[in-house]
Symmetry: none
DNA sequence: ATCGTTCTAGAATATTCGGCG
DNA sequence: GCGCCGAATATTCTAGAACGA
């Protein structure tokens, strides 16, 4: 009741202080609570000095319970704030992780896309090459077949017109080649056929002549019985009226066999020098292949590819641009028709942004205050601007457009191919992600020496650099 | 009833004030409401001093209910807490969602990457095959051309050296080939010509011999009968002035024509059995097609593919490593030069990170509470870093551009290409994306039976397993 | 100094209470702080009752400063709230960002996947084409080799049967070819050899006959001088001992030549109509190509492609459907075997939903206030349907599986094709959307007329429309 | 590391004022 | 003008925090 007396006299007996506040603090710390008495029950005087505390375990005669009166641990309250804070931090860290993962995925996606593009390039290249090869193959086949057919045709024509006189063959040949019109690519076959037919024609001519000679000889023989003098008639038949004896035949056979051997030897000798450079060129290729199996794929691939394309494209002849011309006089200027065209292209990138708007509603107050509607009600508007998610397809379309653009290029396929590769590598260099390395095997074989006198395939041109037609 | 007395005497007993308004405020705070009486029912006096409040739980004899009369308010804090809690939980759940999505995307990406790698491998394989094929083709062409050229060269050399009766054949050849234009690379033709010329050489040798024999015989005849000297004039014209008797001629013609027919017949007969196995080979293939329509695609496809690749790659001969040698003495060791080289490559993927910054503004509270600045004002800056979203399309664009470019090429990229385009457009029409369909032309022909005795192409080796060269 | 007096007399004058603690609270609330004096500087008495507070703006004569002494607002709470709110909003906005990015990535991934699938299709097509080409090439090679071999074989047979002075050349040939080792498939060479040998055979026959005739004539001559009768010894030499007269010979030649001429005429006439349509088909194609260089790529390309496909596919010869028949009599009905087959398929994607539940408990209040259960509990349910993001991989996997399946298929390429189709259809059945359409055009073209006398490539047929074999 | 002491702050309620309908 | 409420402040009790024992 007497606050001052208590603080000054009693408190120092048990505590190091004489402050009621400190004592109250300890009471609170141990769970004691102030007893609030109704003022009406007491006098104003009493009210003033009310200083009464209570504890559920602090009862008269309950000494044993006192041991359960324990000091309140600290920091329990910290839980709340720290809890929220903890959760927030957790969330924030998770968010960070998610962001990292997303950016990671983005980067990977980019790499993937780049790789995909490169693969598309590869595919396009390969398709082009395939088409070229197919064309080439087709042309070669046509040539061969036409050759076969041509010889056959010639043979037939011969039979009709020539009968005996061989002048016609010449005109026939001319006729044959000059009149073979339109089929841009039948010449090959015809040439081959002509080849056969030529020999066959000669065979027939020989037969004719032999027959003539035989007739003649028979006539002579008969003319031995009854001599006749019609030798001069057959101008086109090589006169072989000189009799042969067996020895001459033997000699000739001896001649023939060496000839074959000689021919084989010649070919062998000629072949070797050709093959040797071929081998020589192959070895660097192999070395390239070996050294290309390095780890840094990107640049290697790009550079190698460039080189490769350079090789191939520049050296490969565009079959379509070639026309077969029958050159009678001079074979030295076959190369004049070569054309090498190039086209270059680029890429374009663009990006647009987006934004997100949002609001928040707090209508909890209304829930809490029973009868009060004053509490604010904040209807929220959460605008998710999803447009940024749109327009993703455009790029793809653009991509396709580029592709189509490439195809529309009126220039030949080679140029497009090279340009393309260059652009691709360029792109790779710029964007920096090279994931895939393709092996570009670019065999290079020595160029075959053109012989002055020989037949040219109508549509085939040999590329000495790539050793390909 | 007595307002003044109440405020001055009663209120201070229970409160620290003596204001009725404060007391009313407390009444309101605890849910008490003023009882409004109709004015007409009371006197003006009564109206003035009406000071009556009521509460649903404040009833006579309902002391127990009083504990349920609770103070309103102080809810703001609680509101906040629960609100935050709610939001936190929302955020956490969303976070979970995002994590799930990301892991999902990661998995998909990994699969995609795997698929892409496989596709890369495919592409590499195909490119290698293409190169091999191209090389093979080139070598074959070279062989053929060299063959032609070789025979031609031989022929010419012969003609130049022998030049016996050479007028007609020479003029013929010259004329014929001089009209063939100026191909830079005439080797092919020369090779073919060589082949022909070989036979032609024989023909010429035969001719020579025949002429010699004829001359001899004529000499004999003339020496028998009446020696004449005008036979040697027409050196190149086979003299047929020698009469023949009917029998010999008839016999010869009979021999010749049947021979040709016989030959044809032989071929026809030989050909048929070839075709029959062709049919036989096709039928099992069809059965395979039928049975291949199994459900478990993945493993089947993979295994089959592996096997297939195994076939092809191992069986294909590396053309470059082959050199053609004309072996005169021993042909048994042609295979020693075979080399099979393989190169393998892979893909690499990498990813880099990015980040997004953003802030948010919440100024709604300020709008609601008129004059109070307590309400939070959270100026926020929401930065959408869109760059991470940018530049995604470039690669795809490039890629697709290449592809489309390829397709658009007006040049004769071949039917296959066009077919492709057609399919692509069709697909595009359906799905709106470009899906390309290629035309699959897969010719299969029966294997020819190998004859025991035949010439081997210098660079070609046949793989019995794959039925390919 | 006098605590009790102060509280009982002064405080009530200015406050509604008389408690020093309340006053101190207010002092603290307005920023006043207790002045702590060193105990050694004061007496114990002083220490006991030290009750001194200070404020930086509470100075003597500084009345004007007092207005700056402000109550510490209940701002802590607001601060907290806004802080949390801020963080929450940040988190929410970031969440939105992440979601956007994820959906973005999803979209891109889908595009990528689609592109990849298309690329896979491309790859498959190209591979198939490659195989076709390879097969074609192989077959052509086989044909050529067989041709060579065939002629050789024929020659050999001839030689064996005729063997008139041919020993040396034959042995040469034999030696040359017999020692060529074990190439399992020498048909190509044999075919070529056959070609040569055919002529060579004729040459040899001619030689034989010439020799016979010469012998005969010599015999005649000798018989003129000294008749002898040893003609019948050579059984393998066609007997030509029956004399002929000139007329019979002439007649026979007349017969022979018209036959050949007739054949030539037939071929020429037949050839031309073939070539003409070829040209006619080519010209429109070219025009199409030219006009395809328009800007609107997609549709143009598509249409062109359709047209082109029409061309190519219908005109390309299906090798499998062709069997080589040596038709001697009628070549007019080869076209009847044309077949055009197409298959279309697609893929389907679908997504299903799911949900996530979670709750959170907030019992912080209970922790703080020992006996109070005021703490709120706000169970929440947050449903996020994330399952829609699942199952994306299936498509890609299917795609790759198809591809790999295709490649691995040990069976021929046709099976791969079929499997592919099957897989595609299967896929479509499972996933239900039509994504990819394959066009399988298997063109069948008429067979070329085989001429009776002239070697036809056994498996190759020329397509005049596409100008390809 | 716990507890005690002291000062300060939190928390709930109380008082007062002003405003809105 | 009245009833009710929001808001600021006041009062009281309790708790946090720093420092020392």
């Amino acid at each position: 009741m007497n606050e001052e007396a208590f603080s000054n006299e009693i408190l120092p007996k048990y505590f190091k202080h004489n402050k009621i506040s400190s004592f109250v603090r300890q009471l609170n710390m141990y769970g004691f609570r102030k007893v609030i008495v109704q003022q009406n029950e007491r006098t104003i005087e009493e009210t003033k000095v009310s200083l009464e505390f209570q504890h559920p375990l602090f009862k008269k005669g309950g000494a044993c319970l006192l041991e359960n009166i324990k000091r309140k641990g600290s920091t329990i309250k910290v839980d709340d704030a720290s809890l929220y804070s903890d959760e927030l931090h957790k969330i924030l860290s998770e968010m960070h992780e998610l962001k990292k993962m997303q950016s990671n995925m983005d980067a990977r996606y980019e790499k993937m896309k780049q790789n995909y593009s490169e693969l598309c390039l590869e595919m396009t290249n390969l398709r082009k090459k395939y088409c070229e090869q197919q064309q080439l193959f087709t042309q070669v086949l046509r040539c061969v077949l036409e050759l076969m057919n041509g010889s056959h045709t010639v043979l037939k024509k011969r039979k009709r017109s020539l009968s005996f006189i061989p002048e016609i063959p010449d005109s026939e040949w001319d006729h044959q080649y000059l009149h073979i019109p339109d089929e841009k690519k039948k010449e090959a076959m015809e040439i081959l056929k002509d080849g056969y037919e030529t020999v066959e024609d000669k065979y027939k001519i020989l037969l004719d002549k032999v027959l003539e000679i035989l007739k003649e000889s028979q006539n002579i023989i008969s003319s031995v019985d009854q001599p006749s003098g019609n030798d001069g008639k057959d101008a086109n038949v090589p006169a072989s009226d000189i009799p042969m004896n067996e020895d001459s035949l033997t000699i000739q056979l001896d001649l023939t066999i060496p000839f074959l051997q000689e021919k084989i030897t010649e070919e062998s000798l000629e072949q070797e020098p050709k093959d040797t450079p071929l081998e020589l060129e192959l070895s660097p290729k192999d070395s390239i292949l070996v050294e290309d199996q390095s780890d840094t794929l990107c640049d290697n691939v790009i550079n190698r590819d460039k080189i490769h394309m350079h090789h191939t494209d520049k050296s490969l002849v565009e079959p379509n641009s070639l026309s077969w011309k029958t050159v009678n006089d001079d074979f030295d200027h076959f190369n004049e028709n070569l054309n090498l065209m190039k086209n270059e292209e680029g890429c374009l990138l663009e990006a647009s942004g987006g934004k997100v708007k949002h609001q928040k509603t707090n209508n909890l107050q209304s829930k809490i205050y029973k009868s009060e509607i004053e509490c604010m009600e904040n209807p929220q508007l959460l605008l998710l601007d999803g447009t940024s998610l749109c327009d993703f397809e455009e790029n793809l379309e653009d991509c396709n457009d580029l592709l189509l653009d490439d195809l529309k290029n009126p220039s030949n396929v080679f140029t497009a191919l090279n340009d393309h590769d260059y652009a691709a590598s360029n792109n790779a260099t710029i964007q920096g992600n090279i994931a895939n390395t393709f092996e570009n095997i670019i065999p290079q074989l020595p160029m075959e020496e053109a012989s002055e006198e020989f037949n040219v395939f109508p549509f085939l041109f040999f590329n000495p650099t790539t050793d390909m037609f």
